[in-house]
Amino acid sequence: MGYFGGFLVTLRQHGYKNKVTTQYSGGRVFRRKNRDDKDQKIDKPERLHGRHVLNRYEDGMEKCIGCELCAGVCPARCIYVRGRDNDPDNPTSPGERFGFVYEINYLRCIHCDLCVEACPTEAITETKLFEFSFTNRKDAIYTKAELLVGDDGKPQHLPWEDWREGEDEHTSGWMRATAPSGDATFEGTVAWSGELGYGVRAPEPAQDVRDEEDN
């Protein structure tokens, strides 16, 4: 067909029934009608950078020690942390100090995950939830009350957030992938502490194993 073969290609494509588009969300109408087929979301990669969580140790203690390294490294300056000395009789975290105030402004956050890499205690990691929508600036600031994981170790499902099944399982993919500093010689080595509800998480499979899975 030479020059005109391309026209046939596009015309044939127009007839295809299979679309690459995923129906992201059917909106309120379809949700009210329980039309799940109109409301699909694709599976997200495990390392996706989304909303943060503040993790806890297996005994329920908070991991954050209020060192402010995350606030220091943040290129968007969206994190505000204030530490305070632990009450010796009733400590919040195992160390000397704990994160007393922890706020993240999601109007500024660029989800670079540098805070996750900077954190010495794996206290802050990111979930897969990336959909943010606010009607005023104050709502965009998540405080410790919203960021801290619940007693089952899973991120809190805040009323305005759209969590899907299984999404709250993966909260620390990027932390494990980059510990320590993403050095390849540490691939497969566990270099992190246990988490409430999950215990010590297994490292990601090695690169060649993952390559084989993909093929």
Binding site: G6, Q13, Y16, V20, T21
Partner: protein, 408 residues
């Protein structure tokens, strides 16, 4: 007055109230139809191109996403109206209207329907007056369309110039060069139609194309039609000729600095021009609102009164060309600038000029009673001679440039 408007019997004799109201009604209808058609065209283009790329396209606003353009337009209206500091304020504000108004003016001379059965010749009866379904029918109709489409260049050129910014200026320089180059090929292929039809009024041209055999695309021998489609695509700055707004090179082209309602006007004008050009192609080459009639049998659309049938036929024919334009866009990559100029000056203009000569010689031969075959042969010989000379001239100039060390 009569000389300009006499073709439509509505305006013959003394000017009365009813004809005046009918004309006003037509103005309103043409304007509204133009706006709504543009809205639907944007939707159509997005939907078709999405289909060709295995996507879904707009499907959230309204049924099948039909109201998407309305939503986008409303958003644009509410956005901040920005004028760059270094812009020429008056010209900057004027330019969108210079692009927008011609797009609608050209639509005024397109026959939009009519009753072509029982020898009615496109007349319909409206409030007791015989009239055409067409806003204006000047005897110079086709020339008017060409003139108006040429004026549209000013909108784009001035927009780029008045922005006070580099990339828009480059975009508008490209636009003016491109549109002037292709205007010639466009005009020459229209001249072929005028030669065959013997009239410049659009309604006259439509009336002569009663059956498929009489369509101008056949009587002018297909070549002018193809040249017209290519030149019109270039004239509309649509892909593959959209160098004016080549995103990869020029940010957004001439409209980079435009936002809000002014940008919406450019956008509207672009799609309106596409519709107008498609309608003009149908008018000039495919019998406009005439029903399709092959070998004496005229196809009939059931359940639709004769007076409305013309409009339906026009819509169907125009839709085919709109689809083709979208198809072009989905298929063809953009031309390089020198390729664009080569195609315009070295292929389309000589081809349309040669074909025009051929048709003219045929007609002179018919009038003088010469042998048809001899006339064709002699003309073909002359054309081959001309083509050889052209190739020779291009070779000489290429050699000269090579000697000077030019890169292409």
């Amino acid at each position: 007055m009569d000389a300009i408007l006499a073709v439509d019997p509505l305006l013959e004799g003394n000017l009365l109230w009813t004809p005046l109201l009918i004309v006003l009604l037509k103005v309103l209808v043409v304007f509204v139809v133009g706006l709504v058609a543009t809205m639907l065209m944007v939707w159509f283009e997005r939907k078709v191109i999405a289909g060709m790329q295995n996507r879904v396209g707009p499907n959230k606003a309204g049924p099948f996403g039909l109201l998407q353009t309305l939503a986008d337009g409303t958003k644009l209206f509410l956005k901040e109206d920005l004028i760059p500091e270094r812009a020429d304020r008056f010209v900057f504000k004027l330019a969108p209207y210079l692009a927008f108004v011609p797009a609608f003016l050209a639509f005024a001379i397109i026959p939009l329907g009519g009753d072509y059965r029982n020898g009615n010749g496109g007349m319909v009866e409206l409030f007791g007056h015989q009239t055409r379904v067409q806003l204006a029918d000047p005897p110079v109709g086709v020339l008017f369309a060409l003139a108006i489409s040429a004026i549209a260049v000013y909108g784009i050129m001035l927009a780029g110039w008045a922005s006070g910014s580099k990339y828009p200026l480059l975009g508008s320089v490209r636009a003016s060069a491109q549109m002037v180059s292709y205007e010639a090929a466009l005009g020459l292929s229209v001249a072929c139609v005028l030669l065959v039809a013997g009239t410049m009024s659009t309604s006259g041209i439509v009336n002569l194309q009663g059956s498929v055999g009489n369509w101008n695309v056949v009587t002018t021998g297909f070549v002018p039609f193809f040249i017209f489609v290519i030149a019109a695509t270039a004239e509309l700055n649509r892909p593959p000729f959209d160098l004016v707004e080549a995103e990869q090179e020029l940010v957004g082209g001439f409209n980079t600095e435009y936002a809000s309602i002014r940008f919406a006007l450019f956008y509207l004008a672009e799609f309106m021009n596409t519709i107008t050009m498609s309608a003009l192609i149908v008018t000039l080459f495919f019998g406009g609102p005439q029903p399709v009639s092959i070998g004496g049998t005229t196809l009939d659309i059931p359940l639709i009164p004769n007076a409305l049938e013309g409009t339906v036929w026009l819509l169907l024919k125009v839709l085919v060309f709109l689809y083709i334009y979208v198809w072009f866009r989905a298929t063809l990559p953009r031309f390089r600038y020198d390729q664009l100029m080569d195609l315009g000056w070295k292929v389309l203009i000589p081809a349309s000029l040669g074909w025009f000569m051929l048709l003219a010689a045929q007609r002179v031969g018919e009038d003088a009673g010469w042998d048809r075959i001899v006339v064709t042969l002699v003309t073909a010989l002359v054309l081959i001679g001309g083509y050889t000379l052209l190739q020779l001239a291009m070779k000489v100039s290429r050699d000269n440039r090579d000697r000077d060390g030019a890169s292409f």
